[in-house]
Symmetry: C2
Subunit: 554 residues, 2 copies
Amino acid sequence: MAFTDLSIASEATILPILEIAEKAGISKDALELYGNFKAKINVDQLRPVQKMGQVVLVTAISPTPAGEGKSTVTVGLADALKQLKESVAVALREPSLGPVMGMKGGATGGGFAQVLPMEDINLHFTGDIHAITSANNALAALIDNHLHQKNVLHIDPRRITWKRVLDINDRSLRQVTIGLGGPGQGIPRQDGFDITVASEIMAVLCLATSLADLKERLAQMVIGYTYDKAPVTVRDLGAEGALTLLLKEAFKPNLVQTIEGTPAIVHGGPFANIAHGCNSLIATNTARQLADIVVTEAGFGADLGAEKFMHIKSRKGGFNPDAVVIVATIRALKMHGGVTKDSLSAENVDAVGHGMVNLAKHVDTIRQFGIEPVIALNRFSGDSDEELSNVLAWAKKEGIAIALTEVWEKGGKGGIALAKLVKQELQRPTNFNFLYKEEDSFEEKLRTIVQKVYGGADVQLSDVAQKQLVELKNFGWDSLPICMAKTQYSLSDQPKLMGRPEGFTITIREIIPKLGAGFLVCLTGDIMTMPGLPKKPAALSMDVTADGNAIGLF
Amino acid sequence: MAFTDLSIASEATILPILEIAEKAGISKDALELYGNFKAKINVDQLRPVQKMGQVVLVTAISPTPAGEGKSTVTVGLADALKQLKESVAVALREPSLGPVMGMKGGATGGGFAQVLPMEDINLHFTGDIHAITSANNALAALIDNHLHQKNVLHIDPRRITWKRVLDINDRSLRQVTIGLGGPGQGIPRQDGFDITVASEIMAVLCLATSLADLKERLAQMVIGYTYDKAPVTVRDLGAEGALTLLLKEAFKPNLVQTIEGTPAIVHGGPFANIAHGCNSLIATNTARQLADIVVTEAGFGADLGAEKFMHIKSRKGGFNPDAVVIVATIRALKMHGGVTKDSLSAENVDAVGHGMVNLAKHVDTIRQFGIEPVIALNRFSGDSDEELSNVLAWAKKEGIAIALTEVWEKGGKGGIALAKLVKQELQRPTNFNFLYKEEDSFEEKLRTIVQKVYGGADVQLSDVAQKQLVELKNFGWDSLPICMAKTQYSLSDQPKLMGRPEGFTITIREIIPKLGAGFLVCLTGDIMTMPGLPKKPAALSMDVTADGNAIGLF
């Protein structure tokens, strides 16, 4: 097939966003158009609803380089539900430009299950991420200006934790020294850049419930410590007003559409490691106002995205998922069963069988939350019948609902079987429960995640983390939920331990308080907060036609 | 008066941009709405016109900290022409966020002579500057990635001239070291950040005539030199397609409106020192398609902005100004006459008289271009009658058209007298001529600018510049026009030499080829390409109301 996501998107019929909005019951007054196919929603002007829509969370097995197609299944499932005449909306994260220019692949689904206009969404979209870059770096400039202008707050330049950001993959900016050049050019110090989606401001924007809440959360962010090791916040600098001003438009959710005309709210995209990896709370709740069923996703596998969706996003938002879909592919199961990327095209029924332990663990995890998951076995063209039927048979034997999906090739039609299973689950009441309570001790929360979600034996803190925990407790910050920053490739903290490792110990190397976002990031292993470009960046194949159409976006 | 620009803007009646567009003859199909009050124009879809509109260039005396109000007069003049039933449009630069967050003051005019929606225009507007930031930094990341991935082009890390940018005032980023941290984190080297509007990409966007021309200019940009001192271009890296893709929306001019409903094209805003300081060529030409008269401005005084408007922008654009307005204020003339900023409120007729030499020089300069200028004496509330009448009398004696303007307080009504004089000039044919030809030698061009425009005696090149000139000639780049980077405060290169200095020599310290923009920047003195924040940044007084309205923008 010579189809690419871009070619399919370009050929697709896209409806005026006003038409999508009207069908979704959004009045023209509540919309701010960005061209004919994108709009921001003024949520204050939506009409109130009696009952908010149900939430379907799409998660996945531990991701592999083979690709699982979680966003694609999310979009395809929504379109399938629409084909079944359900009132449905999809709520997705917005893509970061960095990876788009780096590796092939946007974050708007794929094939016949994508959101449109894919070109715009994958480039600057409505400018939300640029606004976050501006706000993040305005704060950084205000901090360094404070140092330069006599440093009344006594901020210790060696203890500034607020980093600058750019929405680009740029390894050279990970570790820098700034303020060089003499007394007129600021105070020299070590610094570094993260990718914008790793900014705490992104997490804040995605968890805030109102403009006032946004401002309060921004004010609470810790930017560093004084020479006396007291925390310094944005409020101490008096910068929360300016930051809120810079973010007020970015805070409004964006309305676009799927390739089959389902309303799609694409808004917010925090990193799934250093942050919670879900689209914005305000977007999900806006979608719940518009439709009876909202299909949404969370970053990485169920051990990371789904766990954080439950314990962080749902908890703040006052709702819980009514159904959970776990996406798996034959290719990814093979890799969990020990096959290397180069050998994926060969049939290997045994490896699929070995890799299913990873899927089984994620099923167990979702069940612990009181929800009966549905597996979406996302078919790729090279999958053999025996490989597929083995997985289907296993699930049936274990009593787990499972459906084959072919949404990349067939759109909503390829997700009808999955949609029917999801509808069944939605009609069944869940027994949702959090695995840990907010009032549990830091150590209890941590152990719960490691043992119940990762299936590990124990957790230990590095010397640094132990010292940090003492400080956190002194400041009274230890009652916050935990946001784990762990490799997505393994249930453990060792990327190469695929499948379902057991008996392992997770080591917390560092604890980073994110008071604005409202969680404590627990770092395990090396977490990359600024990606690098590959040998052949995708950017080098990009171009524009004379008519202004994109070339080389995938 | 308790009025601020923001309060006036908030109280003003703003028309739907569709209505402004309709009146200007722009079909709905040629518009992409950004909310209800901003739109991008697809220039390919404008209907062709028989005759392009005439151009009125608004320039000023050498600026002073007292403020002249050039943008305000530009807007007020357009609104006055509208009141006189002329078909008129205004073409302005778009503001950079850095100075907005730094010093009080946007770039959307002021009082009752401003463009709306001022809040949006002064913040993220339609994202053009963010797109330039992205493209500039994507290129920087591709360069450093090239170094990291075996450096096939043999780029000398010490000779990379392409800097990163942010749209923020941040002195700490002027001189940095990047790529620290070991082999996985890129190649360590010295680097620095400019403010986005100083990026060559901004100049390129403002001088390109089509998307194809934009791409070609981007391809020609020099990013550094090899170990053998051969220039390395964007084309060598293969990045021009991706950069064009990132800029394709930013390249479309933005339509907004003045407070009196005159169509305003606000697009592009290159630094007036390191670049040419005019709004985009495509915006000016779009405005000329929409209206019989286009009022536009150029940065700083006539020695800088107007000279570059003529020699760079007009030359590329194939038009010349049909009339020129020089803005002066009593306060600024007083400063040129030796008064300090603290003593400006006291009447000082003598100082005004002494300061008029600066105005007289700029009048002479415009006359050399074959255009008879009109002086706009922009009234401030503290000006005394005698101060004003002395200037008026002098102009009359010298045979220079002059009008008092009160557009800040009265809008278009306060600019009627000026508008009438401008109309007279527009009916008179100009004898426009360039002061130098493209085929003149580099030295001739330079001497022409220094002697004819600055009124200086001579020009000399530093040792560095002499060496660079030899290289430029070797590469065949010396046929490009010159873009002077000189202090705006003086006709000379000494900021403190106000009024009309004579007999001075200008020293060119460095020559920077900008092959994409198509000019050679000649640096004199210290030119700041990354401003710093002041002691009390404007940002710290900014906020948002519960309804989402801005507080603290001026």
